[in-house]
């Protein structure tokens, strides 16, 4: 009897400990906003998390040129109206002068044997004076955040962001879950779908909602 009690207690305790991890792992099995998927492959960079009201989250993704992307965030309706922005961190470089050094280089006269010549006062005879300017430059790098899409200020009328980058680069998706009961933790999924532009190969590319 005691052994049974101990066994049940240990099993239930372990189950309660791993419950939060399992809850998070279940988010990738849930398909929110299936109507937004379209003909895109969501396998590569979508992310799934269990968040609580008031949480903020960021996802960094890498997008290749020559592909079209569809990005959107969908959460369990119990979390309310989740805000999100798609941000392009632009890296710019600027070169500026660090310092300008001016040095005077003096050369002295030599005789036919290569020995320095001296005047009546015993000083070496100056042949020429040249001013040498040495400019050193500093390259400074800055990162600016440019908002490409804001679901609360969306004029496109579409519940997703579609993007065909001309250059490959990194994008950031920023999420803010509205406040509420902190115990009401639930799934917030970031869907990043891609489609190769103009590819005739692999017409039957993997689609998220296929089995």
């Amino acid at each position: 009897m005691k052994k049974e009690l101990m066994l049940i207690t240990v099993c239930l305790f372990l189950a309660s400990c791993i419950f939060p991890t399992l809850a998070s792992a279940q988010c990738n099995k849930k398909k929110y906003c299936a109507e937004n998927f379209g003909d895109y492959d969501y396998n590569s960079q979508s992310s799934f998390a269990s968040l609580a009201p008031g949480d903020t989250s960021r996802a960094n993704v890498v997008l290749y040129a020559n592909q079209t992307y569809r990005i959107f965030v969908c959460a369990d309706p119990s979390l309310g109206d989740v805000k999100y922005q798609v941000i392009l961190p632009e890296r710019k470089t600027s070169r500026r002068i660090d310092q300008i050094k001016k040095d005077t280089v003096v050369t002295y006269k030599t005789d036919e044997y290569g020995e320095y010549m001296y005047d009546d006062l015993g000083n070496m005879v100056v042949q020429s004076k040249t001013v040498v300017v040495d400019t050193t430059w500093i390259t400074e790098r800055f990162t600016f955040e440019k908002v490409l899409y804001d679901n609360k200020n969306n004029k496109s009328g579409k519940p997703y962001f579609e993007y065909a980058p001309k250059k490959s680069g990194r994008l950031q998706v920023k999420i803010q879950v509205p406040g509420g009961d902190p115990e009401n933790q639930s799934c917030v999924n970031i869907y990043v779908g891609r489609k190769v532009i103009g590819s005739k190969n692999f017409q039957k590319q993997a689609r998220y909602n296929e089995n």
Binding site: T21, N28, A52, S57, T139, K174, P182, E183
Partner: protein, 270 residues
């Protein structure tokens, strides 16, 4: 017996309430953090699967070269978790290469090798018996194999991410990345600054930046400073591309990058 279950219920209620109290504390912290927009509660870093790079190569008409792969029979050499994690990434990338280039026999062989390492690393999602069965049933269907292996890679990385297994994910992604860049660079016979694949190799700097950010986010004691230093050295070579005005990458810069990748890859698979 009823009494026994009642006691068990009381005990689990007690343990669960302890657990919930701890969560509340954490969530209260999150609310405080929320006021400072620069520190999000959760930061996720994702990198494209090697499938994407190989798809570009396949569509560009490049040929499959088996000699570029890490031989499948070498997998038994990898004993430590560190080596297994890196080479799991190497083989996952090889598997993606075989699948995209519709090499069905090699796909099966590399799936088995990748699965063996996945089992050793305790990855139960993405490379389970059900997937082996699906591969077996679709061995002659390239499109299905593509979908199955693509799903496997994605499920495995999501699984590791959600389990929060320290350095396993960045190590695996490092292996996959280094193998993809190595295969892509060796598929190019002559350098041209306009070549689509050369440009894709230049684009790999963004993936490397993300991988290094992942290493930075794990505790110092779980990190691998020697490997990270080598990756940072490759990143320094990539950083020079930011200074280019007319071309994305010069031959000298390209050679420097692919040489460093080749050396690190040799160390990983050796």
């Amino acid at each position: 017996m009823k009494k026994l279950w009642f006691v068990a219920f009381l005990l689990i209620s007690f343990f669960y309430s302890c657990n919930t109290t701890e969560e509340n504390k954490e969530q209260q912290n999150n609310i405080i953090i929320e006021e400072d927009e620069t520190v999000p509660s959760l930061t996720t870093i994702k990198v494209p699967s090697p499938v994407e790079l190989y798809m570009f190569m396949y569509n560009a008409g490049l040929k499959f070269e088996k000699t570029l792969l890490n031989p499948a029979d070498r997998s038994s050499k990898y004993v430590t978790t560190y080596k297994k994690s890196l080479n799991f990434g190497i083989y996952a990338s090889d598997l993606a290469y075989c699948t995209v280039f519709k090499q069905n026999k090699e796909t099966f062989s590399y799936f088995s090798t990748t699965k063996k390492l996945a089992d050793d690393l305790g990855l139960t999602e993405g490379f389970d018996e059900a997937i082996v069965k699906r591969i077996d049933q679709n061995i002659s269907n390239s499109d299905s194999l593509y979908k199955i292996t693509n799903d496997s890679y994605s499920n495995a990385t999501s699984f590791i991410e959600q389990q929060g297994q320290g350095a396993l994910l960045p190590l695996m992604l490092t292996g996959a990345w280094i193998e993809s860049v190595n295969i892509a660079s060796k598929s190019i016979k002559t350098f041209s600054a306009d070549d689509e694949i050369v440009l894709l190799i230049a684009d790999q700097q963004f993936l490397l930046e993300s991988i290094l950010e992942m290493f930075e986010s794990i505790p110092e004691e779980d990190n691998f400073p020697e490997l990270v230093d080598k990756l940072k050295d490759i990143q320094q070579s990539f950083d020079k591309l930011y200074d280019n005005a007319d071309v994305r990458i010069t031959q000298k810069q390209y050679d420097e990058i692919v040489t460093k990748v080749k050396i690190l890859r040799a160390e990983i698979v050796g």
